[in-house]
């Protein structure tokens, strides 16, 4: 049994099935079952890869190593919890009259197809196919963002589409240049976009072309990552889409885009001496971090605020990978994981909270801990975790990033810390009154799914205190691949 085929097959088949049968009563369950299947397949695939090393699939079309299998399992896991969360959430939305049944069908099928595109983007060996999958991921989510068909959601989706489309077009230009550079070394064999081949000859690639190519790739995929000043689509799309979509956008899509950059960075690093790619990434990372931190304090919409928080964290991660080296890469991977888990948990909690109170305006959300202590605590702990409070795992990765920065780039640490401090003040000052205080909200027709929130947070907490050696070895292996 090839777990890889299962892993890609589950979302693809179920996505197509749901396009047809998405209005049946069992459709939400199919959504969950398919996600569960994907997750199990990816988990088994992970075990296989960690035990036996990298492998190909479909000829050389797909390539799975410790690095991307890590993203795969993370993606599949968050996809699973999101589908669990979205089941009661979407029912509540339906009861509130915000979504009709055909829209729900669209949601479910697009969700699965989105998972498919992301998983293919992660596992493909072909940088061109990577691009195609990234573009497809945009296309599937654009309809999810505009699911409510309100003016605001349409506006958000339009901006998302145009900005990301343009961005990704630049990435294509970068890919073409990369192909051009590779062709000179590998010849016109069609292997010139295969990463496994590229990485072997990365030292021979022409530096000038690679530099240009990397700029285009960075700006292109960076738009999807949400690097400032290319981030403008991100808060709109997160705020106006349904919350499960915000969760996967923030928790997964950004990761996948960053993964694309990472793959290209490995090649660029090999070709260009002097840490060109790393410096660019560090610059973008810091700028993104600082910008997002200052954006945070003026937010009124809760989802928008956490979207900026995602931008902030992407800045940190980009900075970490920019620094490079085993520790920083390890920390970057860890931070991505922690951010995905925490942020999606936050969005789950936020989703329920906004459903309860019927608004996304933070001024009007009060006393969550009274309405539903579990949601309240979930949001509170999630927020503290994302703000880098120990003993949560985000702190572990931030600690490693900061200490590494202190060692090699001491000038950057004050900037990093100032931005983190500003972000703390902004986010916590707004979350605290939402969680605490008095309220008069009514209970929901369908009991919210709380488990995903706490499953995520427990993992984050555990990582903060104890990283199992198995995980450590795996992360080290992945970090080593990034050079």
């Amino acid at each position: 049994m090839d777990f890889f085929i299962l892993m890609l097959g589950f979302p693809l088949v179920s996505g197509l099935l749901l396009t047809v049968f998405g209005e049946r009563a069992w459709a939400p369950n199919l959504n969950i079952v398919a996600s569960l299947g994907t997750f199990l397949a990816s988990a088994l695939l992970t075990v296989e890869i960690v035990a036996y090393g990298p492998r190909f699939a479909f000829g050389e079309m797909f390539f799975i190593d410790s690095l991307n299998v890590f993203f795969v399992s993370l993606t599949a896991f968050v996809g699973l919890t999101t589908s669990i969360f979205s089941s009661p959430y979407m029912k509540n939305e339906q009861e509130h009259g915000r979504l009709s049944i055909p829209r729900l069908r669209l949601y479910k099928s697009m969700f699965q197809l989105f998972m498919f595109t992301m998983l293919s983007a992660l596992t493909t060996n072909n940088l061109g196919v990577l691009w195609v999958a990234m573009e497809a991921a945009t296309l599937t989510t654009v309809l999810l963002v505009s699911l409510y068909r309100t003016p605001a959601s349409l506006e958000a989706a339009w901006k998302y589409f145009i900005l990301c489309g343009v961005g990704i077009a630049q990435a294509l230009f970068g890919t073409i240049l990369l192909y051009f550079a590779a062709e000179r070394v590998l010849g016109e064999t069609g292997n010139a976009l295969l990463w496994t081949h590229l990485v072997e000859v990365k030292g021979q690639l022409e530096p000038t072309i690679m530099a240009l190519s990397f700029i285009f790739l960075l700006v292109g995929y960076g738009t999807k990552v949400g690097l400032a000043p290319l981030h403008n689509w991100l808060p709109d799309a997160h705020a106006e889409g349904p919350t499960p979509v915000s969760a996967v956008l923030s928790g997964l899509l950004l990761n996948v885009a960053l993964y694309a950059i990472l793959r290209c960075k490995v090649l660029a690093d090999g070709a260009i001496p002097g840490g060109f790619a790393g410096n660019l990434m560090m610059g973008f990372g810091l700028f993104t971090l600082v910008t997002a931190a200052f954006f945070l304090s003026r937010q009124k919409d809760i989802k928008r605020m956490f979207a900026y928080s995602s931008i902030e964290h992407m800045g940190i991660v980009t900075f970490a990978f920019g620094m490079g080296g085993a520790v920083a890469n390890f920390a970057g991977l860890l931070h991505m994981t922690m951010h995905s888990l925490t942020k999606s948990a936050i969005f789950f909690a936020v989703g329920h909270a906004t459903q309860k109170t019927g608004t996304q305006l933070m001024e009007d959300i009060r006393g969550l801990i009274k309405i539903n202590p579990v949601i309240g605590w979930g949001l509170m702990l999630g927020t503290l975790a994302i703000l880098g409070m120990p003993p949560f795992g985000v702190f572990a990765s931030e600690f490693m990033i900061l200490t590494h920065a202190m060692k090699y780039h001491p000038w950057a640490t004050p900037i990093l810390l100032t931005a983190l401090g500003v972000a703390f003040a902004a986010i916590f000052g707004k979350v605290q009154p939402m969680v605490f205080g008095e309220t008069h909200a009514k209970p929901l027709p369908h009991a919210p799914a709380i488990t995903p929130v706490f499953v995520h947070l427990s993992i984050v907490l555990m990582i903060g205190l104890y990283i199992p050696p198995y995980l450590t070895r795996w992360f080290h292996e992945a970090a080593r691949m990034l050079g």
Binding site: L154, A157, Q170, F173, A239, R304
Partner: protein, 221 residues
């Protein structure tokens, strides 16, 4: 320039026409002619690809040329035409201001693009190497066009024109990408165009116009 072979001269000519069309699109106020210009660009692109295929005996480039012709010169313009008619925005006129300024900026961009592409062209040993700068310039002009447009359809046309530029780059620099990638790209563009079509209706429904200046509500400042 006698060193440049004839086929290369033809390709350069086509590329120049593409660039010219890009400028023409940049300055075009009305929707229908804009779509037509886009169709012409696609046509020239397909022809240029075919010439490259003929010259270099890269057979998959014929497929590419065919695909381009089908998609960019016929299908997409057709869809856009239909949309314009269905949406009844045929007479929409862009209130473009300062076209001369835009053109000047465009010329500046061309210079930038050529200079950026210069080191790459020097490394290239393909006969089409001179066109890489033109491809980059086309991409940038399309970009500029997207920035200056305030209506949804012209913006999308700009977006598609950017794809044209990219395609030109692909053929000129590398004699085309692997087929699977090209197919994927074509599929994405097609699906994207269809989704955009759906979008136009939704936007019209919600905003009563396709003017994207209505869509500036989501902001922080």
């Amino acid at each position: 320039m006698s060193a440049v072979p004839f086929s290369a001269q033809i390709i350069n000519l086509f590329a120049s026409v593409i660039l010219l069309l890009a400028f023409a699109m940049l300055g075009q106020r009305r929707v229908m002619p804009l779509i037509n210009l886009f169709a012409y660009q696609g046509l020239v692109l397909a022809m240029s690809t075919a010439v490259v295929a003929f010259t270099t005996h890269q057979h998959h480039l014929y497929w590419s040329a065919g695909l381009t012709l089908l998609l960019k010169a016929l299908l997409l313009p057709w869809i856009l035409h239909r949309l314009v008619r269905r949406l009844n925005v045929k007479w929409d006129v862009e209130s473009l201001i300062a076209i001369p300024t835009t053109m000047l900026v465009g010329v500046g961009l061309v210079i930038v693009a050529f200079n950026v592409a210069l080191p790459i062209s020097q490394l290239s040993n393909t006969i089409t190497r001179g066109t890489l700068g033109i491809a980059l310039a086309t991409v940038m002009l399309a970009f500029l066009m997207m920035i200056t447009r305030t209506k949804a359809i012209p913006q999308v046309v700009g977006f598609l024109a950017m794809e044209n530029g990219l395609f030109l780059a692909a053929t000129s620099a590398t004699y085309g990408m692997p087929m699977v990638v090209e197919l994927g790209i074509a599929l994405d563009v097609l699906v994207g165009a269809i989704i955009l079509g759906v979008f136009f209706f939704q936007i019209r429904e919600q905003f009563d116009s396709l003017d994207i200046r209505n869509m500036e509500k989501l902001k922080d400042s």
